[in-house]
Symmetry: D3
Subunit: 158 residues, 6 copies
């Protein structure tokens, strides 16, 4: 059984994330979507709300689990008995960011492989950073966020 972890902040989860995760289930038997908790970062949504949103997105996907973790992603993957980390790539810029992280992960955990899927053109422009700006200025979030969480996020905007 091939298990993977899809780590991130998910502040909030976007259509870009859900696309990669769902395509990932074609490769892996199980994917844990996992919120890396960093007590020094400020988030727009609380950890509780981010977990709720993840759950809302994947409630009908038995292959996909949801979790939060402290510490290194590779340590969490091992706890989960997952041999893979799944990551999406939107652009060469993304790869510049991902490449050193992956190599250091490999240095610390040579037994864990990172697998990359490229975003589709529809979602390649979507980042949580940009979405938070759109939320802050009450712009149109349709098409940017998974439909399952749009009402919740819209409520938070007013």
């Amino acid at each position: 059984m091939k298990k993977a972890v899809f780590p991130g902040s998910f502040d909030p989860i976007t259509q870009g994330h859900t696309e990669i995760i769902k395509r990932g289930t074609l490769i892996f038997d199980h994917i844990t979507v996992a919120i890396g908790v960093n007590s020094q970062k400020k988030y727009l949504f609380s950890l509780e709300d981010r977990l709720k949103m993840l759950e809302a997105c994947f409630v009908n996907y038995p292959q996909i689990g949801v979790a939060a973790y402290h510490g290194l992603t590779v340590d969490f993957a091992r706890e989960q008995d997952a041999g893979f980390i799944l990551r999406g790539l939107r652009s060469p810029q993304d790869l510049s960011y991902e490449q050193p992280i992956e190599l250091i992960n490999k240095h610390m955990a040579p037994d864990i492989e990172t697998v990359h899927l490229l975003s589709s053109p529809k979602t390649a422009a979507i980042s949580s950073t940009i979405v938070r700006e759109v939320i802050k200025y009450k712009g149109d979030i349709d098409g940017l966020l998974p439909p399952e969480i749009v009402p919740f996020v819209r409520d938070s905007m007013y």
Copy 2:
């Protein structure tokens, strides 16, 4: 009448900005140089001072106006009845940053086009970030800032 908005923080406006804006008047009948106000960011110069500096740069350019706005750039462009956003590109790195912003703007406002001009080699290295470092350490700002604001900025350095 073709109207454009040139948005930015202008903390402070540089020779790079003024070059693009002035070349932009070859394309557009009117350009509003507009400071996007973000209450959560810290600036070196106050909004008032940044507006004054913009005004000093363009006082002799009837095609160029100056403003500040809250909220989304595309909403401000619509208020101004501007069909275009003008942006400068210094490098492929810049485009990596601009591309998702433009695509999300297009998602929210399909009627607004973003037009890009490439910086000339003389100004391609100039960014407000680097200029702020030069100011902080009392380096030589000549050639980096528009001559109209050099005395004001130099005064602020002592």
Copy 3:
């Protein structure tokens, strides 16, 4: 009257080209889509066929003309009395390619401005190079080429 040249090989013209050209008519009063003739390159389609395809695409666009030229793009622009060159950017990679060309053009013709529009996600992956591969191996060209030339290209494939 603001006139622009959109230069290229157009071997063949793609949906990516037509998108940029049509959006360009929002900025310019007239655009000449111009095939740069390079006698040392090998083309899949003859110059005659490439011109025919351009004409088919823009027959209903009075703002858009079609031409072929020998020599430097900036010399052709001047002949056309065009003050602008219009170019599309699909990616930072594209900009790496365009930037030195534009700077050398500026060196030779400081009076001509190059204006860039970013491709939409739908067309950002389309290049004439890839399309020629698809044609060569009889893949599906729908959505890659302007509908006006699909029948002609399909005929050429059999």
Copy 4:
């Protein structure tokens, strides 16, 4: 059963290729290493030699097969009943090259997923292009080519 195709020219196969392919067997149950035949390109090694070299590399790997194909990669993948294309990424530059190819493949074959693994630092500098230069000038190929084919290639150099 998850099957993948790893397409390329393999002129010659390098340590970079074998690393990605072997790591790919952790993900896929079967990988076909497939030489795309392009009658218009010139190769250093004949198709026959390139196939022999592939076979020498993978003779002890029952999960890995070897083949040559004409036409589109996605068509070959379908013939093989393979739902995946496996690709290595050495650098952001590589991704700039791979991204449009993958998107056009997706356009023609939405049912086939492309999966990317990043090269390790040891092999990230190795390309068939550079290796051919080293061979041409009789440089040291150890560490660049799979040990199984080094004697054969060295023989070809004298």
Copy 5:
């Protein structure tokens, strides 16, 4: 006598830094490894500790000195009578960051040359940023930090 400055935050110094500095001594007669002090940044290690770590790394290298400075790097280089700044490049991304800094330095100090060495594959993934994450989460720092400072850093982790 050719003297260079190798500026940085060194929070902490990594194997990537020491590799470049030691290779730099093949080019320069003397290199000052210099901590740029920025009172507005937060560091993981105090300036005192960072200086101690630098000293531990280069105690046996008479060609290499250690210092801290306030203000502009070019001003410090002049104080040191150093005609060169030495910098490492790990990736095109790094160059995107370095290029404008170097050009502004040249603008302020045309007499000072910046010289670049590319990181080896072994160290190209190592950054102080990633190392701080590994430290924070008590991951394996062996191979990432110079052996001379590993015990000190490990002590700081518990």
Copy 6:
């Protein structure tokens, strides 16, 4: 005595090359500007003409020599007893190209260091490829080529 090789095709040598080479003499005691001869490439200028142009550029620079070589650059450097290869970088794109070449050179000749200088903004857009286009179409070569060879190249254009 620190000796370096500056390898290239120099078809023709540009202002970009001469800038880097002359700045290189601040670092190295001697630089050999060396034409790598590749019998399979087509050149605009003959080897003899390219050598003559190099000589014209550096006749007054006793620190700079001129040569042609067959085979690997690292082998030629060793023949010259040169411990360094000097290269210019115009852009991140350039580094993407240079990085694997340097790493393979290091693999074959660990004793030879490659040193990089960044082009100034004035020359960063100049490449021999673009210059050949300008020559072919009889554009303005002033400012692109070293003044010493402009008359010779201009003669070749008519």
